[in-house]
């Protein structure tokens, strides 16, 4: 065959590189999908062992208040009441979000509606920096400042849900604020102009138009903050007191799902019931983060329609 025809019938170097490049990027993508599946697979398998292998009952897991997985009760079932940490996790998260949301919305209104110049000059850089501060630093400051403060005003040891919620409040405030700012900035300018042209005051415009139009975005910011607070381990563990008891007051030492995992995973032996019970807690955390994710997805869809 003459060389020109041969050259034309062969695949060019370019085409070969193209195939190779495409294949490599495809492999990377398959890898990350497999990774996500593996995380769910591994943690679900380990987490469900407690129920299928160690005969734990799902009912006592969600309603029992005593946590000592190495012991068995009268029905020869392990004592795995996880209610104290479930309650702890939810109370800390909800309290932190309840306090943080009004402040975050106020700051966002200030930055977008009232004084964008001052907002961009003072608040924006501070908030951006604080989003990046590692959570252990928040935990350490909680230990050094917030715990003694709580002790002074409420007595007791100072460790407990209140201290945990305050630490999380400071931690998620920058996150919620910056996402709320984005949500309010996305509200079209002519909405505000139309409202002002009808004779509404600035506050009426903010309250009746801007906040309503930005509501799905603000909700997304709040849920995002909640999911961050719910999954935070070390900052909370350092200030909550780590007592696996039903919280009797906001200042009594209690615990959260993440704190129990952090404290005990190193002290149990793989394969024992105590260890399996911890993996069940990890599975619960995983499922909760999935729930938050689905809610955010749903809100994003609703926001896109309007």
């Amino acid at each position: 065959m003459d060389p020109i025809a041969k050259n034309l019938k062969q695949r060019s170097l370019s085409a070969k590189i193209e195939t190779k490049g495409r294949l490599i990027t495809q492999l990377c993508t398959v890898l990350i999908v497999l990774l996500v599946l593996a995380i769910f697979g591994f943690i679900a398998t380990k987490g469900l062992t407690l129920f299928f292998h160690d005969h734990g009952s799902l009912w006592s897991f969600f309603s029992g208040t005593t946590w000592s997985p190495d012991k068995v009760d009268s029905h020869r079932q392990p004592v795995i009441g996880a209610l104290p940490m479930i309650v702890g996790s939810f109370t800390v998260t909800l309290l932190a979000v309840l306090v943080a949301t009004p402040f975050a919305i106020a700051a966002a209104i200030f930055m977008t509606e009232i004084s964008p110049q001052k907002g961009n000059k003072i608040l924006q850089p501070v908030i951006e920096l604080l989003v990046g501060i590692p959570s252990v630093v928040y935990g350490f400051i909680g230990l050094a400042v917030i715990v003694p403060f709580v002790q002074k005003i409420a007595g007791g040891s100072g460790f407990g849900i209140l201290a945990g919620a305050l630490v999380l409040f400071v931690m998620i405030l920058p996150t919620i604020t910056s996402m709320t700012v984005d949500a309010l900035k996305a509200v079209p300018r002519y909405y505000r102009e139309a409202s002002l042209a009808l004779g509404a005051t600035r506050w009426q415009t903010i309250y009746k138009v801007t906040l309503r139009a930005g509501a799905p975005g603000i909700m997304t910011a709040v849920i995002f903050g909640m999911s961050r607070a719910f999954g935070e381990a070390l900052a909370v563990q350092m200030v909550i007191g780590n007592a696996i008891l039903m919280p009797s007051s906001l200042t009594s030492p209690s615990t959260t799902l993440t704190s129990v995992l952090t404290m005990n995973m190193g002290n149990t032996v793989m394969g024992t019931t105590s260890n399996d019970a911890l993996w069940t807690l990890a599975l619960l955390l995983l499922l909760m983060s999935l729930v938050f994710n689905i809610v955010i997805k749903y809100l994003a869809k609703r926001g896109a329609l309007s």
């Binding site: 209104i109 608040l123 501070v126 590692p134 959570s135 719910f230 381990a233 190193g266």
Partner: protein, 294 residues
């Protein structure tokens, strides 16, 4: 109360709440600075940590943090670039792309302790890497991937379609267009994304407690034998990072100057993150100017 009074009142309330936030946040930063500054000196930054006495430094921890960061970046940058290129350039089936994006979002919303426990289960137990820098770096890669993929994908998307069409019209393959036209154009944005995620990785602790371990064996910085336990470069030695160190001295309380050590270490951590943020902006702008010739 008429609407005008309500407007005045609410404006005042918003001013008040915003000032409260500024006061809280500034107090936080000032506290970190004031509490940490007296303890940070050359000796503190370079000497080894003590287990039971006061006067220990954070030399090994600082090195471990940086080494882990570099190792995990070596794995996660090419991997996430590949995923980002696939999602933004190759993938044509919208449904598959949506599914992959959702998977990445789920990964990014997982609590870091769960990622750490997965790393413990897979790298430490199954692959028998034990508590080591390698396990830690691989776990940090999982933690870091979703963020990095998203920032790189956004960067690739900012390049206009006409650039891709121009490349294809010149007879370049899609891959050649990506490598020679699109990536150079959005390189500043990619680098900014990498540096910002580096800041996040540097301060991560929960994912590392059960993967890179909580102990820092003394390091001999003259030992370059990669297999020796005292060599700083050995990827199979346990390595406590700066962030883990802050957590550990506070929760165990074995050293008498725990609060001094953690004040100093917190300041170092925050300053490093700040440097990363400033660097990301500066380098991004500078590279952009250099490449566009403005």
């Amino acid at each position: 109360m008429n609407p005008k009074q309500a407007d005045k009142l609410m404006t005042f309330v918003i001013y008040l709440m915003s000032s409260v936030i500024i006061v809280i946040l500034m107090a936080l930063l000032i506290y970190i600075l004031v509490a940490g500054l007296p303890y940070v000196n050359w000796h503190f930054l370079t000497s080894a940590a003590k287990s039971f006495q006061s006067g220990g430094g954070i030399g090994a921890q600082l090195f471990n943090s940086l080494y882990l960061l570099v190792l995990s970046m070596l794995v996660s940058i090419p991997l996430s670039l590949g995923i980002a290129i696939y999602l933004s350039e190759y993938s044509q089936n919208i449904r598959v792309t949506t599914w992959i994006s959702s998977a990445i979002e789920v990964l990014s919303s997982l609590p870091s302790i769960v990622v750490g426990l997965f790393g413990f289960l897979v790298f430490v137990v199954q692959f028998k890497l034990s508590f080591s820098i390698l396990s830690g770096a691989l776990t940090l890669t999982i933690f870091n991937l979703p963020l990095l993929v998203r920032s790189m994908e956004d960067a690739l998307q900012t390049v206009s379609l006409s650039q891709r069409e121009a490349g294809l019209a010149l007879g370049l393959s899609r891959w050649e267009t990506v490598v020679h036209v699109i990536i150079p154009e959005c390189l500043p944005a990619i680098i900014t994304g990498i540096i910002l995620s580096a800041g996040r990785v540097f301060g991560e602790a929960a994912a590392l407690i059960y993967t890179a371990g909580q102990s820092a064996p003394p390091l001999d910085f003259t030992n370059w034998n990669v297999l020796s336990l005292t060599s700083p470069l050995n990827p199979l030695r346990p390595a406590e990072t700066l962030a883990v160190h802050i957590w550990k001295v506070n929760s165990e309380g074995l050293i008498p100057d725990a609060s001094a050590v953690s004040s100093g270490a917190s300041l170092v951590l925050v300053v490093v993150v700040l440097v990363f943020n400033v660097l990301a902006r500066y380098l991004g702008n500078k590279l952009y100017k250099h490449m566009t010739g403005e």
